[in-house]
């Protein structure tokens, strides 16, 4: 029962984030980038619901536009990582042999490279920027999805209905598309939700460090970095972007947990036990 409620809360929070990002495409209360010198450090008011920052920019508008950045980064990075990773994982499971070995060794390698370290490498070579942060996040996600889908696909390959399909003369490509993929889709969806949450955290960290999204693009991580220079004057500036990150990540994590229960009752019971 509690699990169900957690899933609802998670979906609600994720929806709020997506809604804010969508709305900001058409409308924000004020411009998220326009500098208004006489409106610097304004406390919350009817005019500016969450107040203004050191440049007089409206915090709420910046948060809404920042949601766009977070979602964009998460969506592209996870899609790329998922696409390539699942393809590799399915190939490894269908073909075994050296392909499988290579995929697993690659997987071993990436555990030593947390996304921050990989982003450092990419940034040092190509310079900082949002696309390089996305690239780092996508690369990190490839082995995660590859290992997950290989493991799940192997258990499907061992099932009788696959044997039946092979006996009926279906080739490995058709079996993968018609039997393996549909049966492992639930695990992949759950991982995609969790990966999305991790990507939002990582994007915020990279932007905080100055190697993610660049000014004037609004980003929660950079808002936090800038707020740190004005902690004495206005500590609340550090509050809002952090809350936005926490609520989004919490929402996605709760949604992922709930999806796991809904899509895979067996796994859910074990996780709950």
């Amino acid at each position: 029962m509690w699990r169900h409620r957690a899933f609802m809360v998670g979906t609600g929070l994720s929806g709020l984030m997506a809604g804010a990002a969508l709305l900001s495409l058409f409308w924000t209360p004020h411009s998220p980038t326009q500098i208004v010198v006489r409106a610097r450090f304004k406390p919350p008011s009817w005019e500016h619901w969450l107040g203004t920052d050191q440049f007089g920019r409206d915090i709420l508008s910046m948060l809404m536009a920042g949601a766009q950045t977070s979602i964009l980064v998460g969506l592209i990075a996870v899609s790329l990582g998922l696409g390539l990773g699942v393809a590799l994982g399915l190939l490894a499971a269908a073909r075994r042999g050296w392909i499988e070995e290579a995929v697993m060794r690659l997987n071993d390698l990436t555990f030593a490279f947390p996304v921050v370290l990989l982003a450092i490498l990419i940034t040092a070579g190509w310079g900082p920027g949002i696309s390089n942060a996305i690239l780092a996040l996508a690369i990190i996600n490839v082995p995660i999805f590859a290992r997950l889908s290989r493991g799940a696909a192997l258990t499907i390959w061992a099932r009788e209905f696959v044997l039946a399909a092979r006996a009926a003369g279906k080739g490995p490509v058709r079996i993968t598309a018609e039997h393996v993929l549909p049966n492992i889709a639930n695990v992949i969806v759950v991982q995609a939700t969790i990966s999305f949450a991790i990507a939002i955290l990582a994007e915020a960290a990279l932007s905080y460090l100055g190697v993610g999204s660049q000014p004037p693009d609004p980003s929660w991580g950079r808002m936090l970095a800038e707020s740190q220079n004005h902690l004495f004057r206005s500590p609340v500036l550090a509050l809002w972007p952090g809350m936005a990150i926490v609520l989004s990540v919490l929402g996605l994590n709760l949604m992922g947990d709930g999806l796991r229960d809904l899509l895979d009752p067996r796994l859910g019971r074990r996780g709950r036990a």
């Binding site: 509690w2 060794r105 071993d108 390698l109 555990f111 030593a112 490279f113 947390p114 996304v115 921050v116 370290l117 450092i120 490498l121 990419i122 940034t123 040092a124 070579g125 190509w126 900082p128 949450a197 955290l201 915020a204 960290a205 905080y208 460090l209 100055g210 190697v211 936090l224 707020s227 740190q228 902690l231 004495f232 500590p235 550090a238 972007p241 952090g242 990150i245 926490v246 609520l247 990540v249 919490l250 994590n253 709760l254 996780g271 036990a273």
Partner: protein, 315 residues
């Protein structure tokens, strides 16, 4: 046991080589000319050519890679491009801060997680369990650098108990030095503990269902002693593995947290080096951190064989 060790050792060496190749390719081959990266695109051609010769970039890439590795084996990492000091010297100073920080965070996180995880498992499906799981769900969502900023606001600005950041150095005495590390360690440990608590809890629950636990309780062993003597030791096997994997997160977190608290460690050095385009520092620093993670995981693999006799026999 011997087969297990040899196999682990081979995979350890392969991972190290793989990491160094990856770093080399990412920094020196894929982006193009490292001399151009370091000097910027508008640098005069003569300066670029001079640096290229200086760094030996006119030689083929495999030769340069082997040179780098051979240098590392002799303990030489070359000169920092910006500071003109041996990179090894720069690192030695920074590691004195970064390594204790990462290990202290892991230690605190493990203590918190084992305590909270065991408690939650022993209160399974009751209010205590629910409370711990909610806290860990929240801890997972809080970015460590934001937690760091919040701790600064609370303890440095509002309460005035500590400074907002900086590090006096170990020579200032153990007290002040440790004092400067308390908030960074806490900020790092909370996230790590949130992940680990869940692992401890589910591993404990798994073991609690085993027959030998029922036997222990049936022969009259107390609840607390059963937990400590039988459950904890068996539950530690997956926990130790995850601790090894989490060390990579601890290392990455340290790099971030050093920037929050202005601590002069590897993280500060690396981000300075990125803006100065000091590829020599970046290359060696990333390899060093990755190697540290690989070594810790290798040690965990060995530890694994010590805790769990089944690992020794299986291979």
């Amino acid at each position: 046991m011997a087969t297990y060790l040899i196999r682990r050792l081979i995979s350890f060496c392969l991972t190290l080589v793989g990491a160094s190749v990856l770093i080399f390719v990412m920094l020196e081959i894929l982006p193009g000319d490292p001399a151009l990266t370091m000097l910027g695109v508008d640098a005069p051609e003569s300066a670029v050519a001079a640096l290229r010769a200086d760094l030996g970039l006119d030689r083929p890439a495999p030769e340069r890679y082997l040179d780098w590795i051979a240098g590392l084996a002799r303990g030489e990492m070359g000169l920092s491009f910006t500071y003109q000091v041996p990179v090894a010297e720069l690192f030695a100073e920074r590691l004195e801060l970064t390594v204790p920080l990462a290990f202290a965070a892991m230690a605190l996180a493990s203590l918190l997680a084992i305590g909270a995880g065991l408690y939650a498992a022993s209160r399974h499906n009751r209010a205590g369990d629910w409370g711990v799981m909610t806290a860990s769900q929240l801890g997972l969502a809080i970015p460590n650098f934001w937690l760091g900023i919040l701790l600064i606001v609370l303890f440095a600005l509002v309460l005035g108990w500590t400074k907002a950041g900086g590090f006096p150095g170990w020579e200032a005495g153990i007290g002040p030095a440790l004092g400067a590390l308390v908030l960074p360690v806490v900020a790092l440990a909370i996230t790590l503990a949130s992940i680990l608590t869940r692992v401890v809890r589910s591993a404990t629950l798994e073991v609690l269902r085993e027959d030998f636990v029922r036997t222990a309780r049936a022969k009259g062993l107390g609840r607390g002693r059963t937990l400590r003597r039988h459950v904890l030791r068996n539950a530690m096997i997956p926990v130790v593995t995850v601790m090894g994997l989490l060390f990579a997160d601890a290392m990455a977190g340290t790099i971030v947290i050093e920037n929050v608290f202005s601590l002069p460690g590897m993280g500060k050095l690396i981000f300075g080096a990125i803006s100065n385009r000091d590829l020599i520092v970046v290359k060696n620093a990333v390899l060093l951190l990755a190697a540290l993670v690989i070594v810790v995981n290798f040690a965990v693999d060995l530890l694994y064989a010590l805790i769990d006799p089944r690992v020794r026999i299986r291979d």
